[in-house]
């Protein structure tokens, strides 16, 4: 795949986000699928590829009444959907399929019709034998292990960590689709209850229901058929991985997977951090944007906390970051990556709720598990 060979022609979230007890996970994916196809000016008859995580893509295809000749069920946590876009791009480039629906729907809050979780393990799994028995029960107290070392070694303060949430809340303050409304200050964040030190409640993502879908196809096909909206070009993509158990990470203060996946995406796009106008970084917790700012090369090691605290990523700042409010403010169904891509595409199309003017190139950095998986995508609204 060469830069801009592959395009996104349809993108949509479910009509509702937040608390949707009347829809199952299959329903959420199907609603998002139909909305994304309508956005692309296509119908289900055009679809010959399907992806989703947690659930089998075959179950999803049967629900939708299509018989895809290519499917991918890579399920490695919240960045799975970014990886699906990369895999779809490769498959389309190889001629295995032409029009792929990348689907996500998750009843994270209402837990209606839930598929299995990638984190659900049997008592004989490595995770349950060698990690969870020591009291690690979920993401908040798994992620604290590397974060404590990050704060100590980089000199990042708790106030700087909290400033990630304050900055993002400024983006989503008036967005009616944001699960947490309004703007919060660093003091508000630090006075919210401690969930697992150093994470306060407002530094942990929300837990919601919702879905989203993308239509991925070749630029050649999109240009031949015509599209209702200008296509969004995929310039670069990367994926990488690290240890499955959090204590086995090579370095808790930096993500090996972030570094590798972003290097692959930058190399493919022939771009660097200085070329990125808009940034989405998967923020299940407040520390992840700080890691990615450093590991992707936007700032030097130990500089991310001050960079955010000084307002560089807030509305009006030079590097707009997580402009939907992110997982800590906007929505987080359990696997957030689809929503980060949706906001990147909205911004590049000029459709965002808090639109930033003049954007041309956006980057989405996803994470899966506790730094276990990562994927990076670079999108643009212009040809390179």
């Amino acid at each position: 795949m060469k830069p801009a060979d592959i395009v996104i022609t349809g993108a949509a979230e479910t009509e509702q986000l937040g608390v949707i007890p009347e829809l199952t996970e299959l329903d959420l994916r199907a609603e998002a699928a139909h909305r994304a196809l309508a956005d692309a000016g296509l119908t289900m008859a055009d679809v010959d590829g399907i992806t989703c995580a947690a659930e089998s893509p075959i179950e999803m295809a049967h629900y939708l009444g299509v018989t895809p000749t290519w499917y991918d069920g890579t399920s490695v946590g919240g960045c799975s959907f970014l990886i699906h876009v990369r895999h779809a791009a490769a498959a389309i480039s190889a001629g295995l399929c032409q029009t792929v629906l990348v689907l996500h729907g998750e009843s994270g809050r209402s837990r209606v019709g839930k598929a299995g979780s990638f984190m659900a393990r049997s008592p004989s799994s490595s995770q349950m034998q060698f990690q969870n028995l020591y009291g690690l029960s979920g993401p908040p107290n798994m992620f604290t292990l590397p974060v404590m070392r990050f704060l100590a070694e980089t000199g990042t303060t708790e106030e700087q960590l909290a400033s990630v949430v304050a900055a993002q809340s400024a983006w989503s303050a008036d967005n009616p689709r944001a699960f947490r409304k309004g703007e919060v200050t660093v003091e508000d964040v630090l006075s919210s209850p401690v969930i697992a030190y150093p994470f306060h409640k407002l530094e942990c993502c929300v837990v919601t229901d919702g879905g989203g879908a993308l239509v991925v196809t070749s630029r050649k096909r999109a240009e031949a058929a015509g599209t209702p909206k200008p296509p969004i070009y995929l310039l670069g993509a990367g994926e990488a991985c690290d240890a499955p158990l959090v204590h086995d990470l090579e370095d808790g203060t930096s993500s090996k997977a972030f570094k590798i996946s972003s290097r692959l995406a930058f190399e493919q796009a022939d771009l660097g951090p200085g070329d990125i106008d808009h940034l989405m970084i998967y923020d299940a917790f407040a520390h992840l944007p700080l890691y990615a700012l450093q590991d992707l090369g936007f700032v030097g090691r130990g500089e991310a906390g001050a960079f955010v605290a000084e307002g560089n990523t807030r509305p009006g700042g030079p590097l707009p970051l997580n402009t939907n409010g992110g997982g800590v403010r906007y929505t987080h169904t359990g696997m957030y990556g689809m929503f980060a891509m949706q906001e990147s595409i909205r911004q590049l199309r000029g459709e965002a709720f808090n639109q930033v003017d003049g954007l041309e190139v956006g980057l989405v950095q996803g994470v899966g598990g506790m730094f276990t998986a990562a994927s990076t995508l670079i999108f643009s609204n212009r040809l390179p």
Partner: protein
């Protein structure tokens, strides 16, 4: 509303990890060492190096 407390997870040994857990029962930490590089590693693995599966030997550290 607080969620009810979860039951404490109890590991279920496999044939591969049974020697490790047998060690814990007698107060010993038994971890493996790669006979090629000498490096210790954890969690227990039966096949550590694909070209020489027998290179994982059990040691008592």
């Amino acid at each position: 509303m607080p969620e009810p407390a979860r039951a404490k997870p109890v590991p279920a040994p496999t044939p591969t990890t049974q020697p490790y857990w047998d060690g814990t029962a007698v107060g010993e930490l038994r971890i493996q060492r790669c006979v090629t590089t000498g490096k210790v590693f954890s969690y227990p693995r039966r096949f550590f190096r694909p070209e020489r599966p027998e290179t994982a030997e059990r040691t008592v550290a």
